[in-house]
Structures are given as C-alpha cells and as structure tokens.
Subunit: 119 residues, 2 copies
DNA sequence: CCGAGCCATCGATACCTGTCAATATCGACG
DNA sequence: CGTCGATATTGACAGGTATCGATGGCTCGG
C-alpha cells in the first residue's frame, strides 16, 4: 500500500483492505468503498450489471439494454454512467454503438472485501 | 423456490438466485436485493458493520459504537436500525444494553450472489 | 455535406436520506 | 415510586437522486 487511500479510485481502494469482518474499517476506507456499493444498490443498476455480465461475449450494447426496461433512454444512460464511474463497467464505443462490459476485478475485489465470512 | 419472491424478506431473497453474472436478474429479485446493498452502501454503516463483526465475541454494545463516531446517538441508532431491518445485524437486549451481532448467513448469501466472478 | 440514428448531457421536479435536537421508552437501582 | 442512564422514536431540514423531456454531439450512409 504505497499510495494513500485518499488518492485511490473507488475500485483501487477495495483491493487493499482486509475483509470488513476481520478488522474495523477505517473512515477513509469506508468513504472509498461506499460509493461502489451505492452504485450497485439500485434495482435498475443491479439488473443492468447482470444483463451486461451474463450477455453473450460478456458485453452488451446500450440499445439492447434500453429495450429491457420500461424507462427512458436518458435514465438508462444515467445508470450506466454511475456503474461506469464506479469502475464496475467498462465502456467502449465502436462505430455508432457503445458497449459495456463487466470489470471482473472490481466486482471480485468488492466480494473479497465483504466475503470474510464465507471462508 | 416454493414461495414467490415477493413474499421473501430481503435476506431470504438473496439465497435463492444464481450469481448476477450468470444470468439476468429478474426485476423482482433485483427489487429484493437492492435494499440489502443499500443498507451497506453508506460509510457509517459499513464501519458499524465492520466494528460489530470484528469485535470481541462477535458482538458490540451500542454504547461502544456511539463512541467510535463523531455523530449523534440518534444518528447511530438510525443506521443500526437500517442494518437490522435489512437482516444484516441481529439485535439483542440484555439489561440496559443492546448488543448487535453480524448475521453471517445474510452477508454470506449476498457475497455468493455477487461472487460468480471470483470462482 | 446533409439527414438519420445512437447515445450523452442538461434542466426541472418529486422523492428519498442523513443528520440533529427534542422527547419518549424502558430497565435498574435506591 | 422517582430518578437516572441507555436506546429508540419523532419532527424538521438540507442535500442527494431517480426520472423525464428536450437538446446536443457523433458517426455512418447517401
């Protein structure tokens, strides 16, 4: 841990800590991790992430995602942005279309941080 | 899955689904799981959970938790209530004091649901 | 270079949430 | 009983967020 916690992106911060059940989380670490969980803590975003992750080739076009919900296109775009900014989804533009892909490491690290129990 | 998803508590709902990365989450499942994540998605609640889980004997008195934060007692009580109602913390009153304890199964199931990646 | 389609951003609005001070509740102990 | 200490509940307020319609920037095909 060479960099201060305060310099890390949310995703980076998750990879550097013991499971929350092992030792008390510092205030700084909690401030870094909470936004990641907040990004996940919405039914629409949970389904978006799940759709992207389980989609063929591991990526999904926004056009596909829009159709899966009874929500406006800006709303879906807004949720995707949150997941992207949290580091959970990677974004790639190819031609006219934009594809989102799950960041395996980010979700994996988050699970590791919470998962001291399952072990 | 004999009961409808709509009849389950948040904690119960988590134990019944494939990892979110394996197949698309239904809207009903997402509606059930999101509140659990929402309960975790706050820096104060993350630290509270961590403090309780890592405390000696696996339980912590509210009086100890209050001292760990620069927040009013009602605020801490409010956060503990959210964690308790989500099913993540169990509550037991002994004499004048109230003790909170981590619900291992709840957190474990949640991790399992998100953890299709780490495998 | 112009129109069409995909996606993001903006501005507005209604709702949710974190926080506190004040107050209630509930046991224990004189 | 009456008080005191530990928690919970209530009411109020500021800030955050989910949603939409309107609009703007891009890229491709003609």
């Amino acid at each position: 841990m060479s960099k201060s916690l305060l310099e890390l992106t949310p995703v980076e911060a998750v990879a550097c800590c013991s499971p929350v059940t092992r030792e008390p989380l510092s205030a700084e670490a909690a401030d870094r991790i909470a936004p990641l969980l907040k990004a996940l803590a919405d039914p629409v975003r949970l389904r978006l992430l799940s759709l992207v992750a389980s989609h063929a080739d591991g990526e999904a076009c926004v056009c596909d995602l829009n159709d899966a919900f009874d929500l406006s296109q800006p709303t879906i775009s807004h949720h995707l942005k949150q997941l992207h900014e949290a580091g959970l989804l990677d974004r790639e533009k190819r031609g006219v279309w934009v594809y989102y892909r799950l960041n395996d490491a980010a979700l994996g690290d988050l699970v590791g941080l919470l998962g001291g129990v399952a072990a």
